[in-house]
Chain length 468, copies 2
Amino acid sequence: MNAPESRFSPASPLPAALLERLRAEFGERCSTAQAVREQHGRDESVFDVPPPQAVVFAQSEAEVARVVALCAQHRVPVIPYGAGSSLEGHLLAVQGGVSLDVSRMDRILRVDAEDLTVTVQPGVTRKALNEALRHEGLFFPIDPGADASLGGMAATRASGTNAVRYGTMRENVLGLRFVAASGEVVRTGSRAKKSSAGYDLTRLLVGSEGTLGVITELTVKVHPLPEAVSAAICFFPGIDAAVRTAMQVIQIGVPIARCELLDANAIRAVNAHDRLGLKEQPMLLMEFHGSEAGVAEQAATVQAVADEQGGEAFEWATTPEARTRLWTARHHAYLSGLQMRPGCRAVTTDTCVPISRLAENIDASVAEVEAAGLPYFIVGHVGDGNFHMAYLLDPARPDELATAERLSAQMVARALALEGTCTGEHGIGLHKQGFLVDETGEAAVAMMRAVKQALDPLGIMNPGKIFS
Amino acid sequence: MNAPESRFSPASPLPAALLERLRAEFGERCSTAQAVREQHGRDESVFDVPPPQAVVFAQSEAEVARVVALCAQHRVPVIPYGAGSSLEGHLLAVQGGVSLDVSRMDRILRVDAEDLTVTVQPGVTRKALNEALRHEGLFFPIDPGADASLGGMAATRASGTNAVRYGTMRENVLGLRFVAASGEVVRTGSRAKKSSAGYDLTRLLVGSEGTLGVITELTVKVHPLPEAVSAAICFFPGIDAAVRTAMQVIQIGVPIARCELLDANAIRAVNAHDRLGLKEQPMLLMEFHGSEAGVAEQAATVQAVADEQGGEAFEWATTPEARTRLWTARHHAYLSGLQMRPGCRAVTTDTCVPISRLAENIDASVAEVEAAGLPYFIVGHVGDGNFHMAYLLDPARPDELATAERLSAQMVARALALEGTCTGEHGIGLHKQGFLVDETGEAAVAMMRAVKQALDPLGIMNPGKIFS
């Protein structure tokens, strides 16, 4: 792999007339300070790209529209910015331009509890939303690792641990408002649960990674807090047995709410970080939602499946405090994992395959990384066929990055051969553009380009992402 | 309303060179016989449009691609045809052209029971698919009234009685192959349950009504046959009480599998048609899927809600035969309803609103139709906020059609004011193009047009549908 840095060079300065207008209209909310630009020009990816030339903090849809219109007038890229937690280089200013930060648009506009819908501004984060919903007896299930913004989560078609039961952003966004490349405001969808009214622009925007518009409002589904919630962990003799348990649970139709895998390396990391004292062997972390009786029934079924695979007796947690302890392992896995190799940077994979092929995908990936000798750990939304292998790299050793990229490419090739996808939930961004072509073929990517060209003829909306 | 017929005039004949090529390549499977053309030029809508100039029966994706390429070369419209059961004029040859009948592409290509996916050709009908799946312990839940083809169901984003629990075609199509306007084959999606790989072309095609391509293969989700299934009917003193029961059931999160309303007129019709001897008052027909205990628990919860609304005791059906008897009422409602006024034609509405607004939408619609004095009946997927009012019209009385169109327009305007949609599951077709603009605004429709223009620059794919 070429060093990704080499592909990008500093962009020419913003047109003075544009910067002057932005400053006149946004005052201190238009910043060219180095620190602000750098903060908006870095994400969790491995790319090293010069930061955007300016950052504008928008506080309303009208302001978003104004920034887009001004940038369109000057043919300058606009890069939407929410929480900055994307993983594949989505927010990097690869062609320069203005980072349009919508994190201050963080109001929950409506909670329609009777309809199980909420309408929010794009800067609302998932944790803030759930904090506000709790006293209504509702929750929003999509939970990527970070406390991402809902606008960003829609833009990357995010999911997380609850997707196995509640779906991803694809299934949970009912309608949007967004500013198109022209500066015009477009609304899609409604609060109705289903509709056959014309092209599904909502789902065209969900997953478009900021390349078709800047999301300014979302109406999403929420769900009643279940009457009963029960979490359990179960340890297995090998990763295979854990994965086979997850596969069978899904195949027999148990409506499990969460079904997460941590490998022995991930457990070692969270034990070191949080003194959890968990057994250092592959573990499934499961959660069951429903009525008291329903939860008990699901759990009994899953225990029987786990028994057959050599799983140990469940350790249960039914109080919120006990559940929090178990979920700490999962939530801290990434950061704890990084600390296993001080100073390292991680490259994280994201393949997703049909569930019947998951065990072979993980087995082969483990064999390859073990053979290569790179430190790694695994966490996985195994109920969806999706897992993440994080390779822990010494940033001073380019050979390790090259090895990680080779392993990652092998894993993607295998996932595609197994009829899966190169990305279950992180998106394409800068990193997976070649994999996208491998996955869906030139014809589909050409169709995506044609859509992009039609909706953003000047190419100003987060250019260089998904396809170059 | 203008008589819809007046908008269309006979198209000029097909170019002789095109017809010659189609005949040479497809032999008897290219037909210009009047009867065949008329069969392919009529649907359940009220429009009277000259039939397509030719019908080609394709037997493979390569043949579909060939027809599209030849039509592109001659700038002749291609109108995909499946089971011919669409309701809004989708298959009418409003600009002439070739009806491309894919009903002979009816093979089930793969059943991946372990992954709960199947891959089919577009002419497979929902009943044929379920027949094939039954012995695998699986079922495909989407059930529009007619025995529609899966290609057509995807193209119109169909749903039906199970959508309240299992979703619509939007949620159940994982991937597609289709022939684009260029004649090129495009594939989208994969067999993975989720993906963030690029624009969601799958869902752009789902609901595109044949205007962006001809679907040649679908991979869809299927579901395990539940361990226990129980159906029940419950009668209510008024339609309001029935609807409020449905609303509360959804709001408290009961995972009800089907929740259908029939009004007293619909019951009278099915009693007359099938001698069912049901009470002639508003009825909910419900189905519960799950474990034995889970089904019993759901049913008890719903009975308690119904009791509060003055519902009578449930009449239960747990054997397949008894369930079939109850569901006969629902499945025969449309045809039985038509027979309430011999020789009539029906105009059917399809609004869908947030569930909290459903009662007021139905109440007002009933008041308006009663005041207008048109015969009607109501069936509804009330768990989704969706209902159909069928107006029964004397075809010899244009004033009745005008009244029905006025009532329908009032109902749509109200549904939009209630934050719903003009069509829950039938699509836009010819009939609802004005309503689409009312619903989503000029900017969104302009965006749809831009996508259409980019992907079908010659305008040959089912032209004149969704927007003119």
